[in-house]
Structures are given as structure tokens and as C-alpha cells.
């Protein structure tokens, strides 16, 4: 049983680990104040959060799947 618990904990940590890819279900419920409001469900992390704007939506997605890119160069 102890080993099963460890495996479950490891699986949970693996699911929550940030990676380059992530799967979301986005439900846009309202379009008020020139932006969107709704909910986003992160499949791998098994979490759902409400968002009040596209900016908040984008930040939630970036939190789950951050990416590092080189800065633009003129």
C-alpha cells in the first residue's frame, strides 16, 4: 500500500509538472467590458479556474505551460 501511495503521489507530481505542452478546456461564458469571462480547465493539472479577462486567461495558460523564447532583436 505504501508503494501504491508513492506511485500515486509521483503521478500527481508528474501531472502538475510544467511542460511545454498542456491541454485546456476553455468556456467563454460572457463577453463584457470588451473582453471575455469564463472558466478554464487544465487537463493535466486537473484544476479549473474562472477568468475575468483575456489577459487573465493568457496568464493562467502561461502558468501551466510556460515557454522561454529569445527576445526580439532589431
Amino acid at each position: 500500500m505504501l508503494q501504491t501511495e508513492r506511485e500515486g503521489s509521483t503521478e500527481k507530481k508528474r501531472a502538475e509538472k510544467k511542460s511545454e505542452s498542456a491541454t485546456f478546456t476553455i468556456k467563454i461564458q460572457f463577453a463584457r467590458n470588451a473582453t471575455w469571462q469564463g472558466s478554464i480547465s487544465w487537463l493535466e493539472g486537473q484544476k479549473t479556474r474562472n477568468f475575468r479577462s483575456e489577459l487573465e486567461l493568457m496568464k493562467l495558460m502561461a502558468e501551466a505551460a510556460p515557454c522561454e523564447e529569445e527576445l526580439a532583436d532589431w
Binding site: 477568468f51 479577462s53 502561461a62 501551466a64 526580439a72
Partner: protein, 150 residues
């Protein structure tokens, strides 16, 4: 660069010369603040909003009316140091032309931004009520083929 932590913060801290060009179906360029002497380079729309929002959180102006939600259980920590993406204005090249826009973020309500966007070449100004509306204005101004313009 004038450290916002040492001097008084004025509304000019969120006023930027904005250089932008469409690149790989996205947006890339630089924001320049002449009053405080710093720049924020970005290579995508996501970086533009992320980097600028991080800076506005750091100086806490305009003060956000709402706290950002996260997938984590605890509230996001307050940034104690200047974000790394904010650099001295001389730390990189600036296009040798007039800026494409003058961006002024005046308020941060409803987990989004409100302010004005001035198109430098036509001397026209539009107000935006969200970052979604802001990016729509920018992309429409840069995309002549779409027809809908400032």
C-alpha cells in the same frame, strides 16, 4: 535608467513609445519609456502583455483593482526586484523612425487594462477597454489588407 523605487512615480511610467511589426503571424518590437529611460523588448503578443504587466505589478502603477488568479493554491508573490525584461533604454537598438504607436495604460480594472493608443503617423487616438481591444486596434492598424483601420 531612473529607478522608479527611488523617485516619485508619475503617470508617465505607463506611457510608452511603441514600435511594432508583424512577424510570423505575431507581433514583435519594443516599448520605450523616455521619462524613466527603460525599454521592454518583446517577440510575441504574449510577451508584450506578460512583460508589461509584470513591470506594472512591480511599480504597482496603475494599481490593479483585482488580484491575479492562478492555478496554484497560494496567491502570487509580490515581485521585489525589477523584472529582468526591463532594461536600460540604451541597452539595444531602437528603430530609426517615428514610433508606430504611443501607448498609455491608465487603469487596470477588471483584470485587464484600460487606456489610450495613439497612432503616430495619423495622429489619431483610440481608447481601449481591455487588452483584447488593444491588440485588435494594433493588428488592424498594422494590417492594411483588413481594411478596418484607426
Amino acid at each position: 535608467m531612473n529607478d522608479p523605487e527611488r523617485g516619485k512615480i508619475s503617470a508617465n511610467i505607463s506611457l510608452f513609445r511603441m514600435y511594432a511589426e508583424k512577424k510570423d503571424h505575431d507581433l514583435a518590437g519594443v516599448l520605450v519609456n523616455d521619462y524613466y529611460g527603460f525599454r521592454i523588448d518583446y517577440s510575441s503578443v504574449g510577451q508584450l502583455f506578460s512583460y508589461l504587466d509584470e513591470f506594472l505589478d512591480y511599480v504597482n502603477f496603475p494599481m490593479a483593482a483585482t488580484r491575479r488568479r492562478t492555478f496554484g493554491e497560494s496567491a502570487p508573490e509580490k515581485r521585489e526586484a525589477m523584472p529582468e525584461h526591463v532594461k536600460d533604454v540604451e541597452d539595444g537598438a531602437i528603430p530609426d523612425r517615428q514610433p508606430d504607436f504611443i501607448l498609455h495604460v491608465q487603469f487596470r480594472q477588471g483584470a485587464t487594462w484600460q487606456g489610450t493608443l495613439r497612432r503616430a503617423d495619423r495622429q489619431t487616438t483610440r481608447r481601449f477597454r481591455s487588452e483584447l481591444e488593444l491588440i485588435t486596434l494594433i493588428m488592424n492598424a498594422l494590417d492594411i489588407e483588413r481594411g478596418k483601420d484607426l
